[in-house]
């Protein structure tokens, strides 16, 4: 399949990356928790697609494994855990935020521009096929980070964190053709465990404070 011209390939990769970015915005704009989870799952699907595409185009096979792992963990397992958590909650939508949605979207836009500006000088050294997606990866990381700041509910913060992770994976797979397999495996394992632990914590928070509004956690201070 190598005769497929590189430009097309890279354009397709960029397309997938762009879709990832779009889902980010969607998550930022979304109030309903379950919807956020679904959007995250969708984003992960796009991520898997990107990975598969890269694997296909470059013929580096262990990226397939990565793609498969993404599908299993991020599309199936983690969303399920999150759904369970949400079911136990007494709220289904997040009304109050630290930053209201329009402003949030605006800021995210700025972040995208920022990441363009930052990654500009280092794009040329990347691989022709996928180097543009580094910008998008950084953007996604920053937006995920911003989501964690903007949202108050533990669950949405978790989602923000997972979005960051997706950004990282995009960066890893797309920009650098993936890490060596063993690394990939390790990272996936850690992410899974991390998600689990955060899930456990959310449970306990719910039990202890019967709310997952993390802005209420201000007992420990000077």
């Amino acid at each position: 399949m190598q005769q497929m011209p590189l430009q097309i390939g890279s354009q397709m990769v960029d397309l997938c990356a762009a879709l990832l970015l779009l889902t980010c915005f969607a998550i930022v704009a979304q109030r309903r928790l379950t919807a956020c989870v679904d959007l995250f799952a969708l984003q992960s699907v796009f991520l898997a697609a990107t990975a598969g595409l890269v694997a296909f185009l470059t013929g580096i096979h262990h990226i397939y494994v990565a793609a498969a792992l993404i599908v299993v963990i991020k599309v199936i397992v983690i969303p399920r855990i999150l759904k369970q958590v949400i079911e136990r909650l007494n709220v289904s939508r997040e009304l109050v935020m630290n930053v209201n949605i329009p402003t949030g979207l605006l800021i995210c836009g700025i972040l995208v521009i920022l990441s363009c500006f930052i990654t500009q000088p280092i794009i040329p050294i990347g691989f022709l096929l996928t180097r543009d997606s580094l910008t998008i990866a950084l953007a996604i990381v920053l937006i995920g980070f911003f989501t964690m700041i903007a949202r108050k509910k533990a669950v949405t913060q978790v989602i923000g964190f997972l979005v960051m992770e997706n950004g990282l994976f995009l960066g890893a797979t797309a920009a650098a053709y993936g890490m060596p397999l063993i690394v990939e495996l390790g990272v996936f394992f850690d992410v899974l465990v991390g998600a689990l632990i955060i899930g456990i914590y959310t449970h306990r928070l719910q039990d202890a404070f019967d709310s997952v509004d993390t802005s209420k956690l201000t007992v420990l201070k000077e």
């Binding site: 533990a154 960066g171 650098a176 060596p180 990272v187 914590y201």
Partner: protein, 493 residues
């Protein structure tokens, strides 16, 4: 022959597994005591070998050079002491019925897992696997911090999980960026992630991307190292975690995070020269000392007190590394002494906590009278942390100031001023606790608890004194080659 290295990493795993399966408290105690002994011996052997050959390898993993060995010493000694102390501490809680036997076993399982992960992170020749190990340590630490299921512990744990996860994620992005820039030099192989390869290829890497990588790593691992302004999780976690864990966090986790940053620094300096990393680290270091001394001054909780002092000392070490030359020496010397002193301080704090069951500073004066062991430990540790001779931190601070003065006198003025402020603040609090007459009786501690704690404290204090005004020859060799890694051998006498 690298079996000591392997032993160093596997021993905690086995002991942890054993403790999980063990049926009786006694069995756990025996296992952990064995672990402590093993750690000490293995560390000694590793140091000895590395000092002799410069590098001990077991294939890809584990592998240790001088830098790893140095941090092995810190983790080995403090880890051993911490394990012993944990036996006493948890044992006391067990006797009081504050923890069940199963929780008791779980604790040691997690505790040893945490140790193993840390040691693994140190002794691996691979950027990414180091990251994996540190993440592993973070996760086990997360569970340990929330171990006492109080609301406060939960809050602290949550903040730790979120903040350090973010940090670790950023660190990973930094790692990826480094890989990104090295991949097109070294090709896409797992060799690309080996430190030694990176050092060799460093000059050929693309400067900008390496700089960006370092920024991400600095913020990422800096969060775990508790450098201001990423330090915010640290006091909460240290205050709410079970005290043996607090000791380990301060002495090990921060140290390992600094180790990670150092590894990257070595690469980046080879690419873009030391100024870039130097300025960043000195800046953050000064900020850390400043923030820490402010909160030391207003502190009312003795565990938080020592937590903030950790921030201060990591800041000092940062400045040292940032300065380079004798500063690097001062930095690693400082890290070692800080680990010893700080864990001692936490051991003492733990005993006080067990006795009085509250953490309020002004209500526990007269410790020297009331609890001779805890009192004297807190006094010695406090003086060492305040940078008083004959303890090593005085030496390292003067070394850092000396090296810095040529480059940036102003920085030295700030450095000394902040140090003095921190000194006053810390000692004000510590002396309030140690001296005077006790006001509250509290509940007496069991002999076993005191016994184990006494051993732990003595171990630390012995090491502290031993590394006060002179360096054991083996360690000296390590330092020389470490300073070599940072290409500053020239500026040392």
């Amino acid at each position: 022959m690298a079996w000591p290295l392997l032993l160093l990493i596997t021993a905690p795993l086995l002991a942890g597994l054993g403790s999980l399966l063990a049926r009786s408290r006694r069995a756990v105690e025996v296992l952990q005591s064995l672990l402590a002994g093993t750690l000490l011996i293995a560390t000694a052997l590793v140091v000895e070998r590395v000092a002799a050959r410069g590098r001990v390898s077991f294939g890809l993993f584990p592998e240790a050079d001088a830098l790893s060995a140095w941090f092995d010493v810190i983790l080995g000694v403090v880890g051993a002491a911490g394990t012993l102390y944990a036996i006493g501490y948890l044992g006391e809680q067990l006797e009081r019925g504050q923890v069940s036997l199963s929780r008791f076993r779980q604790f040691f399982g997690l505790f040893d897992l945490y140790l193993a992960a840390m040691l693994a992170a140190l002794n691996v020749e691979n950027v990414a696997i180091m990251w994996i190990a540190i993440e592993g340590a973070t996760l086990s630490a997360a569970l340990l911090i929330g171990f006492e299921r109080s609301k406060a512990a939960l809050e602290a744990g949550w903040k730790f999980v979120i903040l350090s996860s973010v940090g670790i994620a950023l660190a990973l992005f930094g790692t990826i960026l480094l890989y990104y820039s090295s991949a097109h030099v070294l090709g896409v192989t797992s060799e690309t992630l080996r430190w030694s390869e990176l050092y060799r290829a460093a000059q050929k890497l693309d400067p900008t991307s390496v700089k960006m990588a370092f920024v991400f790593v600095l913020i990422g691992y800096g969060t775990k190292a508790g450098v201001a302004p990423m330090h915010t999780w640290l006091p909460d976690a240290h205050a709410e975690a079970p005290t043996p864990v607090s000791a380990m966090l301060s002495a090990n986790m921060l140290t390992v995070a600094v180790y990670a940053i150092l590894r990257f620094k070595a690469v980046v300096d080879r690419t873009v020269g030391p100024e870039f990393t130097g300025h960043l680290m000195v800046g953050l270091g000064l900020l850390s000392i400043g923030v820490a001394s402010v909160f030391l001054l207003v502190q009312r909780d003795y565990k938080r007190l020592f937590a903030y002092s950790s921030i201060e000392h990591i800041g000092i070490a940062f400045i040292g590394f940032g300065i380079g030359g004798a500063g690097v020496f001062g930095g690693i010397w400082h890290l070692l002494n800080h680990a010893l002193a700080k864990s001692t301080a936490f051991f003492a704090a733990g005993l006080v906590l067990l006795r009085h069951e509250h953490k309020m500073l002004e209500r526990v004066p007269g410790l020297l009278r009331q609890m001779p062991l805890a009192g004297s430990a807190i006094l010695v540790a406090g003086l060492a942390l305040a940078g008083m001779p004959p303890f090593g931190m005085f030496i390292s601070e003067v070394l850092i100031a000396t090296e810095a003065y040529a480059a940036a006198p102003v920085a030295v003025y700030a450095f000394l001023a902040l140090l003095t402020l921190a000194f006053a603040a810390l000692l004000y609090q510590v002396l309030r606790m140690a001296l005077g007459e006790p006001v509250e009786a509290g509940r007496a501690l069991g002999g076993r608890c005191l016994g184990f704690s006494a051993i732990a404290v003595l171990l630390n204090v012995a090491a502290l004194v031993a590394t006060g005004l002179w360096i054991p020859v083996q360690l000296g060799r390590l330092i020389t080659s470490i300073v070599g890694i940072f290409g500053a051998a020239a500026s040392l006498p």
